[in-house]
């Protein structure tokens, strides 16, 4: 088990290097140089050249990447924003809690209604208790989060006045983003829980449990549920990536000062340090979520545990 965790942790190093290098290369294609962007249109060419020289812009790509990563890891420095001239790192740190709150709330919300309804529809397969939730789930999963957000805004902010339209003034501002993000996500969660549960119900050991006369409730909660929920964890983790995507749109819509809004603004203003820093940080967080999912999966699944405890790495 320790071996597994250690190995998985070591695998993070090449992944993080690869991810950051890939993003660095892509963003490097954005036209323009940092000197003229930082100094503005009125600057003299000599000043621009000097600035580029100081920032190390004239070095080859890989060398610049090395310097960038060195500064990021050891000095917590992701460069300065072209437009605000503020350090990107502080901005990211300030915005991170907002994004994490939005994502965490949405995942919890989606699990709270997705998993139980998924189990229900699997157990009551082909009845109304199955058809209505699954139909609804598919409908929800076909909505972009920003659209649900807009409809919520229309009803609950503009007509009923219960929640503020935009901003992050109080906890109330986080309710609608949570629902907007959580509903489509919960729809996907429901569908997955259902199919995983259906698969488990058909397994031999579930039939055995039924045959030996275990009460149905016990068969479902004890025998089937525990195994059916394992893949659900993985999906919850992997779909975190989809969630980040829709979270960016949701944050922008509700004007929440999160990382998503930061990156979108950066792209629109061609603010290279903001875009590189923001995307790399989000991607690294995402890899850590996947790591956490993998490890927790190994903890709860005896099969994986057995695979790694018996033999070497």
């Amino acid at each position: 088990m320790h071996r597994f965790i250690l190995r998985r942790l070591l695998m993070m190093i090449p992944i993080i290097i690869g991810v950051s290098l890939l993003i660095f290369i892509i963003i490097d294609l954005v036209p323009g140089d940092p000197g003229s962007n930082l100094l503005g249109p009125g600057a003299r060419q000599e000043d621009i050249d000097l600035m580029n020289e100081q920032l190390g812009y004239n070095y080859p790509l890989l060398q610049r990447y090395g310097v960038y990563m060195y500064n990021a890891v050891f000095k917590l420095d992701l460069g300065k924003s072209y437009s605000t001239k503020k350090p990107v790192f502080t901005e990211v740190v300030n915005r991170l809690p907002v994004s994490l709150t939005v994502a965490f709330n949405a995942i919890m919300f989606s699990l709270v209604f997705g998993v139980p309804l998924g189990v229900l529809s699997a157990v009551k397969q082909n009845t109304l208790f199955d058809r209505i939730p699954t139909g609804l789930a598919l409908l929800l999963a076909s909505q972009p989060a920003f659209l649900i957000g807009l409809v919520l805004m229309l009803i609950f902010s503009l007509h009923l006045g219960w929640f503020p339209v935009t901003g992050a003034a109080s906890w109330k501002s986080y309710i609608m983003p949570m629902v907007a993000l959580g509903l489509p996500h919960g729809g996907r969660q429901l569908r997955f829980t259902r199919s995983s549960m259906l698969e488990t119900i058909r397994q031999d050991y579930v039939r055995t449990a039924k045959a030996k006369g275990a009460p149905p409730r016990r068969v479902i909660w004890k025998h089937a549920m525990q195994n059916a929920l394992l893949p659900v964890i993985t999906v919850a983790g992997n779909s975190f990536g989809v969630l980040i995507g829709s979270a960016i749109a949701t944050e922008t819509l509700f004007g929440l000062p999160g990382l998503g809004t930061f990156v979108v603004m950066g792209i629109k203003q061609k603010d290279v340090p903001v875009v590189t820093g923001g995307i790399i940080i989000l991607a690294v967080i995402f890899s850590f979520v996947i790591l956490a999912v993998d490890i927790s999966y190994a903890f709860v699944d005896p099969r994986i545990r057995a695979k790694y405890s018996g033999r070497r790495g």
Binding site: P14, G18, V19, L139, I244, A249, A283
Partner: protein
């Protein structure tokens, strides 16, 4: 069940097999699909949307979608303008129709590109295995560690907005997952005895891949591609909503919602109508994908 048993009566000659496969397999699938009312509803919706998108120029010329008329600013739906008018007095029906061309084009083109590139790469690494497999899969691990929309945003940031660029961006983000899926399905098929028999008979890798492996994986490919269209329509809409999709004033569903959001209070139809079209298209493709999955492999029916 009866049908499945009938199918297991193996025909004798190669010609028989060919006829047998071509005739009945797809008919059989179509027969099962036709019974699935929800999937058929999806098929009808998506065909209608595609038809409207193709016929957009015949219904209203593209210039109507761009023509501004401040007198009609935010006009509600009426007999003359069925969907009302937007913040510049442009006819929303025309914009939705012409917008659907872009949205559907992006959805289908990216899925098709993913199918081609991801399918070939997945089949190759799955079948060849070994070092190539290791190398490609590690590279894909890195790719898929970047959330899809984020990666697409980075690509759009680098190349600028525009239909071709979002198509490239969205396809790139979806290829890793597709490769993985095809690979595992090919790994499954490659273990079967008929593949071994073919290899023992001296068939080349390309022959085995194209004649045996791919035809057997085709079901998975179709289902996944259909589901991909649904999710890519959503991704494209999200990118456009963020202003990272197409170049204004060109209409696109996500961009229409984004333009409409400023008038949420006064003219909610500006977001509700294009929003409804996004959902309808994506929903239709999803139910069609589900139906196809069940029709292609009734054993998996859930």
């Amino acid at each position: 069940m009866m049908r499945a048993e009938l199918n297991s009566e193996a025909p004798n000659t190669a010609a028989d097999i060919l006829v047998f496969k071509k005739e009945s397999r797809w008919k059989e699938i179509w027969r099962r699909l036709k019974k699935d009312r929800v999937a058929m509803m999806g098929l009808v919706i998506i065909c209608a949307v595609i038809f409207l998108a193709l016929a957009a120029n015949l219904i209203v010329p593209y210039s109507t979608a761009l023509k501004m008329n401040m007198k009609l600013r935010l006009a509600p739906p009426s007999a003359e303008h069925w969907f009302g008018c937007d913040g510049y007095g442009r006819d929303l029906l025309a914009r939705c129709l012409h917008g659907s061309r872009v949205s559907l084009l992006v959805g289908f083109a990216t899925s098709f590109a993913t199918l081609l590139a991801g399918g070939m790469l997945g089949a190759l690494v799955g079948y060849v295995g070994g070092k190539l497999d290791d190398l490609v899969m590690r590279a894909l691990d890195i790719f898929s560690s970047i959330p899809d929309t984020l990666f697409a945003m980075a690509v759009v940031a680098a190349m600028g907005p525009g239909i071709l660029n979002i198509c490239i961006a969205i396809s790139l983000t979806n290829i890793p997952g597709f490769v993985r899926m095809v690979r595992s399905s090919v790994l499954n098929i490659a273990e079967q005895e008929y593949i071994e028999a073919s290899r023992a008979g001296g068939a080349s890798v390309m022959h085995i891949l194209s004649r045996h492996v791919l035809p057997n994986a085709v079901g998975t490919l179709i289902v996944q591609t259909t589901a991909n269209v649904a999710s890519m329509i959503l991704t494209a809409a999200t990118l456009s909503f963020l202003g990272l999709g197409i170049n204004p004033p060109q209409p696109e569903w996500g961009a229409l919602v984004s333009e409409g959001k400023e008038f949420l209070r006064t003219a909610p139809h500006l977001i509700l109508i294009p929003g409804f079209m996004i959902c309808a298209a994506s929903f239709a493709m999803s139910v069609l994908g589900d139906g196809l999955r069940d029709a292609l492999d009734p054993r998996l029916r859930t």
